[in-house]
Symmetry: C2
DNA sequence: TGGATTTAGTTTCATCTGCAACCAATGGCA
DNA sequence: TGCCATTGGTTGCAGATGAAACTAAATCCA
């Protein structure tokens, strides 16, 4: 009530550089950008395509819808990524016997090869980033991210 | 050497859901998406526009290039966001007296008003997200993000 | 059965994005 | 001074993106 300081107002409180959503966006862009640049050049692969390959590498036979769920991409993005990968003979699609609408997706031999070569690159980049943290801090980070991911889902 | 288990191979090691760049991307998208949805509806404002307003609110008189540095957006994005904001009479641009190429950017009264109304909304969303964490954890998170942001810059 | 509803996936369209080319003003320097 | 390189900012174009409409197949249920 007796405060003589100039009124704070909302502007004072919101500092973009300290704003968590902004910081997350910058970090994510830097990381994804750096990694994507590496394999975009080496393999002519976009981020959506790379995600599809990553998930099919571990879980062959998923349908496009399942891939969309697993990667949190929307189905249009998956549809297009799959179309490009099929055109490039990196992914094979065969209709499900029971449901002709579904396409069972698998990596071709070529797709497997891409996967086998990119995965180590990606993991190496991740390690490079994580090398800024101690083992303990990495565990803390993962725990925090788990909780933030859940909280963010309910925003 | 005597291992009988099937060979691990790179595929086994890369689990998309545990891959830090992927997790950051999902988290950032969820958070930004949720917040952007709120003010996009309320104020017809895109994320780039909102960032420009946020930074000009605290630091009036920046040039477009300076805004680009402050927001980590590229100059094309800033140029277009500023053009829209000027058209909407939310930002005023006046040529720098010393250098006719530069535009000194400031919020108009209308722009200030938008800023004053959005900032609390944004901060409230941030708080909602952070309410999943203890005060101590928030500090840890920020420290970790600081270091990751630096590490990511040198990727 | 046979329509009405739901689901899988694609296409369309309108918008967004970013690189590269560009224009204009400035600064460097011979 | 006058030319060249640099910088601030915009524009053109080509590819990416997402919502909504659409096609086709499967399921529901009277």
């Amino acid at each position: 009530m007796a405060s003589v300081k100039r009124k704070p107002g909302p502007a004072e409180l919101l500092v973009l550089e300290d704003f968590l959503p902004y910081r997350l966006s910058v970090l994510s862009n830097r990381v994804s950008g750096a990694i994507a640049a590496r394999y975009a050049k080496a393999f002519a692969l976009s981020i959506p395509e790379w995600r599809v390959i990553a998930v099919l590498g571990r879980r062959p036979g998923l349908t496009a819808t399942e891939v969309a769920e697993a990667t949190e991409m929307d189905k249009v993005a998956v549809s297009r990524a799959v179309a490009r990968l099929v055109a490039a003979k990196r992914v094979a699609a065969q209709a499900d016997a029971r449901d002709a609408r579904r396409q069972r997706l698998t990596l071709t031999r070529e797709g497997e090869s891409v996967h086998a070569r990119i995965a180590p690159m990606a993991l190496e980049s991740e390690q490079r980033l994580l090398s800024a943290l101690t083992v303990r801090e990495r565990a803390d980070l993962n725990a925090l991210l788990d909780r933030l991911l859940i909280a963010a889902r309910n925003l």
